[in-house]
Structure formats: structure tokens, C-alpha cells
Symmetry: C2
Subunit: 196 residues, 2 copies
Amino acid sequence: SEGDPVTAAGPDVFSSKNLALQAQKKILSKIASKTVANMLIDDTSSEIFDELYKVTKEHTHNKKEAHKIMKDLIKVAIKIGILYRNNQFNQEEIVIVEKFRKKLNQTAMTIVSFYEVEYTFDRNVLSKLLHECKDLVHELVQRHLTPRTHGRINHVFNHFADVEFLSTLYSLDGDCRPNLKRICEGINTLIDEKVL
Amino acid sequence: SEGDPVTAAGPDVFSSKNLALQAQKKILSKIASKTVANMLIDDTSSEIFDELYKVTKEHTHNKKEAHKIMKDLIKVAIKIGILYRNNQFNQEEIVIVEKFRKKLNQTAMTIVSFYEVEYTFDRNVLSKLLHECKDLVHELVQRHLTPRTHGRINHVFNHFADVEFLSTLYSLDGDCRPNLKRICEGINTLIDEKVL
């Protein structure tokens, strides 16, 4: 009832600080849940990643390592997506985003071209493009992410830009031809949809 | 072991989509937790809110209603803080943020002045300033928040801008004088720290 004395153990303990803490947690959790409904990695990209997992397993003969590489790739992609969506990049970094988009687009088109036009595959050209992508990613997230994440970036690109891996992927006599076909179909879709 | 057939029930089921979903949830939850560590409502503001709760209870003689008003105030403040911190306001809205800061500062200084200088209190002047703050808050969050939140904004300001409430708060003969003193001390601290 009204008029109860306000004591530490009494019923009328009001703390703005506690109420604010609870409200903030609740609102942020709601935002996080809502944001998950907007996936940062679209279905076509997921399908490409599934193919990349298969060819990585084929090349490394190591399921665990293949899983680790893909997990690192997905984590890095999502962290960058979240930074971008939450407008965390400053003006200089936005310039790097645009450079990275262009470099990634160039790389993607080269991947498709090397697949579609016989005898054009050049593992050194593709490796160089991928390393340039890697450098831009490092530069982009320099201010935001941990050395651990930079290690993940290296882990991912050191694998996908590896000339031996690229040779396995593009081998006309190897087992990866159907996977490469699906990867390139996915890339073409992303290019058509202006994602890449 | 390697070479296991890939089947729906097999051990080597890899899904980038599922992995991405899990990673996104985990990263967003981590961000939310980290963000909570950076409270959007500082200690001084919390102390002011605690005093506002006490005087609201004194004025309304209704603990439940006082709690509801403060909860609404805290929720609105936090939602605006999150929108601002996550750079969700566009250029036009940033202009309104600056107008609101100035109006809130003017209102805060008027609150202190009316307390410190005897016989200057004018409930209509203060009420008008608070209603102007309310209008700016509505304008600021127009694009972002729900009718329910606009209802909360009205609930909060209709109470604090009420001339009868303000008269209770500033009454020289009433019980709110010590609370008003602490509110003004808090406001002066926020002004000194350039928060207001």
C-alpha cells in the first residue's frame, strides 16, 4: 500500500539504473533477433560456400580443416556485413569498401571467364587477384577487428588463393568440374542481381 | 572417416546457411552484450530519474503509475540512444538531434534557474519548453519507432510538462524541495560534463 517506508528490503525499491540495464538488454536482444531475420549471407552465396566446402575437402582430404576454413570465411563475411549494416565504417573505410567491391567483382568475373573459356586458366593471375582481395579486407577491418580475425582472414585466403588449390579446382581431369560449374552459375546469378 | 557417403543423415552434412545463421546470432548476441557494458544512460542521469520517480509518486499518489511513467521514459531514452549510436539517423534527423540537444539544454538550464532564483518559477514557460522537447522527439523518431513508442513519448511528456505537476515540484511549501535540489545538482553535473 501507499506510504510503505522506502527501505533496502522494502517493496518500493526503484532503481533507474537497473531498469535501464534491463531495458537496454531487452531492446538490444530484440534488435539482434530481428536482424537475424535479415540474413547477411544470401541463399546463392550459401550455395557457393557449400561448393567451396566440397572442393576444399577434395583438395585437402581433411574434412575438419575444410569445415574450419569455411567457418572462418563465414564468420569474417558476417562481421564485415554487420559493420557495414550498422554504419560503422568511416569515410576512408567506405572508400576501401568500394575498392573491395570492384576487386571482388573483377575476381569473380575472372573466375567465371577461366571456367567458361577453355585453356585460359592462369593460376597465378587468379591467385594474385585473391591476394589483393585479402589485402583490402585486412585494410578495411583494421580499426574494428581483432588479431584473431585477421588470422582467420589469412587462413581463408591463404587456402583459396593457393595455386595448388586453384589448379585442383580448375583441373579438366579432376573431380571438381561440376562444383566449379555450380560456383560459376552462382557467381553469374550474383552478378546479374548486382550483388557482386 | 573420409569417404563416408554424404547423405541427409550422414556425419558429413555441411550447410553454409545453417552455419551462417548460427554465426550471425552468436556475433550479434556478443555485440549486444558488449554494448550493454556501455550503458546508454549514465549514473548521473539515473540519479535524476530516481528523483523524478519519487516526485512523480508524490504528485500522483500512485506508485504503479509512477513506475510506468519512468519505465516509458527510460525505454524511449534507450531506443533513441541505440538509434544514435548505431548511426541510424539520416542527415535530416541529425539536424533534429542538434535542435533537440539545444532545446533540452535550454530546458535544463531553465529548470535550474527557476530553482536557484527565488520567485522566478513560471510553470507555463517550463511546460512550453517541455512540450517543444516532446515535439522534437516525435519528429526525430518518426521514421523509426512504432505508434506504441509515440504513445510512450506522450505519456512521459504529458506528465512532466503538466503545469500541476510542475507546481508540485517547485512548491516552496511542498515536500519536493530536496528532490528538486538533487535533480538540479545532477543537471549541473551533466552541463559541466557537456552531456547536456
